[in-house]
């Protein structure tokens, strides 16, 4: 079938692309978490390329190549180039760098205690912001107050295909071939940093082997490669090694929260207050705002809490920068709430489902933290509990549950082009696919819409020239944004047929040529209500059972849905049990390979009991999102199932307890 080319090794990823006279780039990286650079000699360094690459002109943004100082292990200091990749690795030794090591800050707690890591700052707090309505506890109706600190440690995205780029400057145009979730965003970032005009750069999308949010970002290595190609007038390729990825790729999570809930004896929560900290790493990036923004605004989730206020703190550490990771603040927000509501239930000796019912809603609402919930949350919760027979099953099994809102990043919409030529239909999206299998729903939807065979339809790749505008693939948006723009564009093509021939039939379509581009605008973020339940026996890894009750609106393609749940479920187990990046006191990475970084392999895929409900959305294709749901719903429910058996409350992710799930091999 169509996707078999990936399985058969016929995918064409960045590293499969080769040009004549191509240079390979290798990067001299900082071995220190924090040091002054006394001298750097050799390679391409900041004495020649002095630039900053963040989208916003923030004072603490990262230089493309270190200037006078390094602030994390793996920071780019210089670049070397050779037509032979082995030789470019050998050339790393030709660059001389004298460092004077400085004290390093390797955690949020450390950062709050120690002196500022950057000159010109009084401490390590980059910024502070408040959301919600500040309230005085005397003014609210409560009988009980519970407080706790929750921590979600950093995780590296670790797609199977690491980061990579080819920059090819020819005829005064910079061509970029990149593994990316959004070539349009990448184009904007490179243009801004290197001061290029719109017609001086074209970014081409190529096969992308996983992204998980990371590949929506721009990286210093990409700017260096682009600059070098313009300088040497040759194609320049950079492919990240796994070691570089673990060390230097922007990492997700890294959220700590001190939270207090105020509730009445009957379980009704009337107040939430606290502080949420984001480990930004060594420099500011635009994605910090999204991650901490989501992690704060979405905390109260599906529950109506009249008084809610949070203070957010962006905390600098001597570590690689913060970035997006599947959910980007949404899983953190939900986990904060779900772990706190379980604690409150325990204090009040209430059932964890009853307390959720008490706080769920009959109507859509806007939370005091500024989160618009489009649907009532109680009906879905009650339906899910009933469907899985929660109240009976919870007498026999140690169940954790999680009710959550999936906030789908639908704004500002998406673009699509459909072409019909030589009896074939080709589809191009402005938001680039990164290995999730969009091909499947494209074929399913268009074969129905056009009444033609699936194998006449293919999803092809665009570049920023052929598709002038586009957004990206992230935030559980594709089912809605890509599905809807696909339907809209297909309608336009059908109308073209009707306009030309007075009627539509498939032969009139396939025997002629059509080419239509459309941008479907959406000016708000949609959302949906979802539920997870988890049971397990802490002595047996194979016992983990994940119950999902997701409202997906209309299912566009069932394989896509199941693939997202199966893979995402495993990723969620990793995040809960083992997956993280760990640093020592000096800011050196300890988890230097994917086994130590706790990635789980396919043999750990749990059992699933999947129920999908289809309450159609308001969008043209009637779909709702799914991409981030597993990461939001599963970890807190699994943590609950575990703590019921160990008697030790879970506040830290990953739980990372060697004695859990008896790992003595049989």
């Amino acid at each position: 079938m169509y996707l078999n080319r990936f399985v058969n090794g016929e995918g064409k990823y960045v590293d499969d692309i080769k040009f004549d006279n191509m240079l390979y780039m290798s990067i001299v990286r900082s071995p220190y978490a924090h040091a002054k650079i006394k001298k750097v000699k050799g390679g391409l360094n900041s004495s020649e390329l002095k630039a900053y690459y963040a989208g916003m002109d923030h004072a603490m943004r990262e230089p493309v190549l270190a200037i006078d100082e390094v602030s994390y292990v793996g920071q780019c200091v210089a670049a070397v180039f050779s037509e032979n990749r082995y030789e470019s690795e050998d050339l790393l030794n030709s660059v001389e760098v004298d460092y004077e090591p400085l004290d390093a800050v390797s955690s949020i707690d450390d950062a709050l205690k120690k002196p500022a890591i950057h000159d010109g700052m009084k401490d390590n707090i980059l910024d502070t912001e408040d959301v919600g309505n500040k309230f005085n506890e005397k003014d609210i109706d409560y009988d009980i107050k519970v407080s706790d600190t929750l921590f979600m440690d950093r995780i590296s995205a670790n797609p199977i295909e690491t980061r990579g780029i080819i920059a090819d400057y020819k005829d005064n145009v910079l061509h970029i071939y990149a593994s990316s979730q959004s070539i349009h965003r990448l184009k904007g970032g490179i243009m801004k940093t290197l001061n290029l005009k719109d017609d001086e750069i074209v970014v081409h999308h190529v096969d992308t082997g996983g992204a998980f949010g990371l590949k929506a970002l721009i990286f210093p290595e990409y700017i260096i490669a682009a600059y070098a190609s313009m300088k040497y007038k040759k194609p320049v390729k950079w492919i990240e090694t796994r070691s570089e990825h673990l060390q230097a790729a922007h990492a997700g999570r890294g959220i700590k929260a001190d939270i207090t809930l105020y509730a009445r004896k009957d379980g009704k929560i009337n107040g939430l207050d606290g502080t949420v900290y984001l480990d930004t790493g060594a420099y500011f990036t635009d994605d910090d705002l999204v991650d901490l923004g989501n992690a704060m605004h979405e905390v109260t989730g599906p529950y109506f809490i009249e008084n809610a206020h949070l203070t957010g703190k962006y905390v600098l550490t001597n570590k690689a920068l913060n970035g997006y990771y599947r959910g980007a603040g949404k899983p953190e927000a939900s986990r904060i709430m779900e772990r706190m509501i379980d604690l409150l239930a325990d204090k009040l000796k209430m059932d964890i489902a009853d307390i959720r019912i008490k706080n769920a809603t009959e109507k859509p609402f806007k939370s005091p933290l500024g989160f618009d919930i489009n649907y009532p949350t109680k009906p879905l919760l009650e339906a899910a509990l009933k469907h899985f027979d929660y109240y009976n099953l919870s007498k026999k099994e140690k169940l954790g549950i999680s009710l959550f809102i999936l906030d789908e990043d639908t704004a500002p919409g998406e673009s699509c082009r459909i072409t019909v030529k030589d009896g074939k239909v080709k589809v191009y999206f402005g938001g680039d696919v990164s290995g999730q299998g969009h091909e499947l729903f494209v074929q399913e939807m268009l074969s129905e819409e056009f009444n033609i065979d699936k194998d006449l339809i293919s999803l092809d790749y665009d570049d920023t020239d052929t598709l002038k505008d586009g957004t990206g693939t992230w935030g559980s948006r594709s089912a809605i944004t890509h599905g809807s723009v696909l339907m809209k564009t297909a309608e336009i093509i059908k109308n073209d047929v009707i306009k030309k021939f007075g009627k539509y039939d498939k032969d009139l379509l396939l025997d002629n040529e059509f080419n239509e581009y459309y941008y479907y605008k959406i000016d708000y973020n949609a959302n949906s209500v979802n539920f997870n339940m988890v049971s397990c026996d802490v002595n047996d890894m194979n016992s983990i059972k994940i119950y999902t009750y997701y409202d997906l609106g209309k299912i566009l393609n069932l394989k896509n849905v199941l693939g997202s749940i199966h893979g995402g479920g495993l990723q969620a187990l990793g995040e809960t049990l083992s997956e993280t990046l760990r640093y020592d006191e000096d800011g050196q990475l300890i988890t230097n390979n994917i086994a130590d970084a706790g990635l789980l392999t396919a043999d750990k895929i749990p059992q699933y009991n999947i129920k999908i409900v289809e309450n159609n959305s308001e969008f043209p294709d009637k779909a709702k999102g799914i991409g981030e749901s597993t990461m939001i719903g599963i970890p807190s429910a699994l943590a609950r199932s575990i703590e019921l058996q160990t008697g030790k409350r879970v506040t830290k992710f990953p739980i990372d307890d060697l004695s859990l799930f008896n790992k003595c091999m049989e």
């Binding site: 070691s243 060697l658 004695s659 003595c664």
Partner: protein, 285 residues
């Protein structure tokens, strides 16, 4: 992989190998299955000018039984796990080999490579200690025999000199023995957090006739807790005896807090595994 430059040789007989080792000495290294050496080269943690691949030397790949089990060092780990003679004569070795990594690694990794690399996390050194194995070591001057307990010196350090070749593994403690390899891992890695190899035989009166124990990743190299072995000989195994044996066992261990967990947590798990393991093997016999 992008290692430093090296020169590659693949002799097809032992004499050719001896010649190369004599010529390049410390600048050379034998490549068997490559599952330790290649990652080190790839990450440029080591640089070796002359790599000598021994996979073409057929004389290093055999399994025989003549009053003792004899195994060539180039037998692949997967073969060790599934070979019928090994399975019949030495349950411990077959069990341990089946617990190394995954099928792809077992298809390439070799019994000799696992032993000679002496990574403290490798599984077979402890198994060789528990089995009281003997190693035939060959160089251009001749052959000698080294006992397993004299072989493992420190992390990545053995009794082999730069021109020595492990040519035969001899295991005599096979008839009437039963053994098992208790390996504890993390969820994400096949390497042992720690492991215990136990090989045991009983007298007619149900007391322990002989026992061999080897410990993986509980010290800087694989260790043989001789004091524990001696303590258990001629005793019946019950909770008290097993508990006392564990207290002695701890003397051979150097457990530290690390990325896998705290010393306390590891010690607790180790105790359970050791005591249950001793009892399980005793009951099978």
């Amino acid at each position: 992989m992008y290692p430093d430059k090296f020169e590659y040789f693949a002799p097809d007989n032992i004499e050719g190998l001896e010649e190369l080792l004599d010529k390049y000495k410390d600048d050379s290294k034998i490549l068997a299955g490559g599952h330790s050496l290649i990652p080190l080269l790839k990450l440029r943690l080591t640089s070796i000018p002359y790599i000598i691949d021994i996979s073409n030397i057929k004389a290093l790949s055999f399994v025989d039984y003549n009053n003792a089990l004899e195994i060539g060092p180039m037998v692949r780990t997967g073969e060790v796990a599934s070979n019928k003679i090994i399975g019949d004569k030495c349950k411990l070795l077959a069990d341990a080999a089946s617990k190394i990594a995954d099928p792809q690694v077992r298809n390439m990794g070799t019994v000799g490579g696992d032993i000679c690399e002496a990574d403290p996390r490798n599984d077979l050194p402890a198994v060789m200690l528990a089995l009281n194995a003997e190693f035939e070591v060959t160089n251009s001057m001749g052959k000698r025999t080294v006992k397993a307990e004299d072989f493992f010196k420190d992390a990545y350090t053995t009794a082999l000199e730069s021109n020595d070749i492990l040519t035969r593994i001899v295991i005599k403690n096979t008839e009437n023995y039963y053994g098992k390899y208790y390996k504890y891992t993390t969820l994400s890695s096949d390497f042992a957090v720690f492991a215990i190899a136990i090989n045991m035989s009983l007298n007619d009166n149900k007391t322990v006739k002989d026992i061999g124990i080897g410990l993986t990743n509980l010290n800087s190299t694989a260790v043989k807790p001789v004091e524990v072995e001696n303590y258990l000989k001629n005793k019946k195994i019950d909770d008290r005896v097993a508990g006392e044996a564990f207290n002695l066992l701890l003397k051979s261990c150097d457990i530290e807090d690390d990325v896998n967990g705290t010393e306390k947590n590891k010690e607790k798990i180790l105790k359970n595994i050791f005591i249950n393991g001793l009892k399980e093997i005793y009951e099978v016999l």
